[in-house]
């Protein structure tokens, strides 16, 4: 069994109109090498499901997003995601704006093959008012409480970036926070992971095995993508690239800004992308942010 693929082979599986979920959180451990491959591809009309960072902004900038299912979009150190903001303010995308908790709850429901899971989150807000598809349900027990029935967020594809994988699809997330990648993986028909390092077959210590957060039967393909989360963080391996993020932010207020960004960084392929960013030596040593 060998699930090793290239990013281009992964994206070749995608069809227009698909629902794609992303692992990570804001500008943290996003599968950016695969995102860049989507940007190079003709695929369009995507429903993007994410705790949004630059992957959301870039896919918006490229006109690939039909609908966004999200709780936020941010670059954290730069609070406002520039391309999300621009496209959002132009009213160009459909939205399902969710509480952060509802978002992971919907993925959990999908992974458990449940139609919905109950929660209080979202009640009495505009989240429910603006999403008529969200229904309430009354507790069948004595309390009779009215709860929100968070529908399953079923994904066609999940894209997750991890620190280490093997060719069988086993994965390790060695940073301090595994975020909700396991739920993203479980909610999808097909999960593809990109990884900083790929081994043939794991032979881990018990300590190392604790960094595994979802099973390989969920993983359809493994992409070897060193610095594949750049310009987002990939703790503990490297931090975000603030100079690149600033360059990306500037593209939203420049004439032909997105086209220029694509020409400078994306069209040339991943090797050229690394050269443009000081090479893998520099990218892999970017310091982790200190808060």
């Amino acid at each position: 069994m060998n699930k090793l693929m290239t990013a281009a082979e992964v994206v070749a599986q995608f069809r227009d109109g698909m629902t794609i979920g992303f692992g990570g959180w804001g500008p943290r451990r996003k599968p950016m090498a695969i995102v860049r491959e989507i940007l190079r591809s003709p695929v369009k009309d995507l429903t993007v499901v994410a705790y949004g960072g630059p992957e959301v902004g870039m896919l918006c900038a490229a006109g690939k997003v039909k609908k966004l299912i999200f709780g936020f979009a941010t670059l954290d150190a730069i609070p406002l995601e520039p391309w999300y903001r621009k496209v959002r303010e132009a009213g160009q995308i459909e939205l399902m704006e969710l509480d952060e908790g509802m978002w992971q709850w919907g993925l959990r429901a999908a992974g458990q093959r449940m139609p919905f899971l109950p929660t209080r989150c979202g009640l009495a807000t505009d989240v429910t008012k603006l999403n008529p598809a969200l229904k309430t349900i009354q507790s069948p027990y004595d309390d009779g409480e009215v709860l929100l029935a968070m529908p399953a967020l079923k994904l066609d594809v999940a894209l997750v970036h991890v620190n280490v994988a093997d060719q069988l699809g086993n994965t390790l997330i060695t940073g301090g926070d595994h975020y909700f990648d396991h739920l993203v993986a479980r909610a999808a028909d097909a999960c593809y992971v990109s990884a900083e390092r790929v081994e043939e077959r794991f032979a881990l210590t018990a300590e190392e095995a604790r960094f595994n957060t979802f099973e390989r039967y969920l993983v359809k393909g493994v992409v070897h993508a060193p610095c594949g989360a750049h310009p987002t963080t990939c703790a503990p391996d490297y931090g975000w690239d603030m100079s690149h993020l600033k360059r990306y932010v500037a593209s939203a207020s420049e004439e032909n800004g997105w086209q220029n960004y694509m020409d400078e960084f994306v069209h040339g392929g991943e090797a050229a992308y690394q050269d443009k960013n000081g090479g893998i030596e520099r990218m892999g040593k970017l310091p982790l942010p200190v808060f």
Binding site: G101, L123, E145, F291
Partner: protein
């Protein structure tokens, strides 16, 4: 010891922010942003050592971590609070968060999503983030660095992200019992929701600020708390802790012009 201590408005607000956690017990104190985080840290280092706190990432600490580059300081971790666990904490109600929403209304409803029309907004901000879940599950306080009618708005906020004491938003059978909105710390005053039917009151005024000035800059009607007085000044001991927690003086950049805590006459 001299009772004449000089302090900035930001430092006064840190002390006011630290007061919001009084009586909370063992809950996760989440101060998001420089002044709320310093406030929570100050509370933990003075009257409320029982508070739980993170390193502003995903690990718990019993000793609040100084802001920014740490030099020789090595954090001492006491546990884990990765995001999946934060939701367990939120939904279990064991948290008091203090964030700075884009808009707040008289009901305590908050907005972090968009300003203007939802479909074609004047400004897209972050999205609702965790506000719907936070507000319906645990204690919340808010921080407003520039008190104005643009933030403390007339009517309802443009996009209700966090719930509040607005009867029109609640349907029969929905549980409101866990909603608990405490204080709003602004650059002019401290507000609370302790008036009749949770009406907003001015709880204390910062030195040199009048009730009228606060009312003139607020989009809704305010009440005076019966014991309305001046916001407590930082003590020398509190200032010493704040300076230790914020060695790079990040607090100086939080309030426009970094004004002194006591207005020049």
């Amino acid at each position: 010891m001299s009772d004449k201590v000089e302090f900035s408005l930001a430092e006064l607000m840190v002390v006011a922010a630290s007061e919001v956690f009084r009586g909370d017990g063992e809950v996760l104190a989440s101060g998001i942003g420089v002044i709320p985080r310093l406030g929570a840290s100050l509370a933990k280092l003075t009257y409320a050592p029982e508070l739980l706190m993170t390193d502003s990432e995903c690990l718990l600490v019993e000793e609040p971590i100084p802001l920014g580059p740490r030099g020789d300081y090595v954090p001492k971790y006491s546990g884990s609070m990765h995001f999946e666990r934060v939701f367990e904490c939120v939904w279990g109600g064991k948290r008091h968060a203090m964030i700075g929403p884009t808009q707040i209304d008289r009901f305590g409803q908050t907005n972090l999503s968009v300003v203007g029309d939802y479909q074609k907004p004047k400004a897209a901000i972050l999205g609702v983030r965790g506000l719907p879940g936070n507000s319906i599950n645990h204690i919340n306080s808010f921080f407003v660095p520039a008190h104005s009618k643009r933030v403390l708005v007339a009517g309802e906020v443009d996009m209700v992200s966090g719930v509040g004491y607005n009867p029109a938003r609640w349907e029969k059978g929905m549980k409101q019992d866990y909603m608990d909105i405490r204080h709003i710390i602004t650059n002019l005053c401290v507000l609370d929701f302790e008036g009749p039917d949770h009406a907003v009151r001015v709880r204390s005024l910062h030195p040199g600020v009048s009730f009228e000035e606060v009312q003139d800059n607020t989009g809704f009607e305010l009440l005076k708390a019966p014991n309305l007085g001046e916001t407590a000044h930082p003590t020398a001991a509190q200032l010493e802790i704040i300076r230790r927690l914020d060695p790079h003086d990040m607090r100086a950049a939080q309030i426009k012009g970094n004004p002194p805590g006591i207005r020049a006459a």
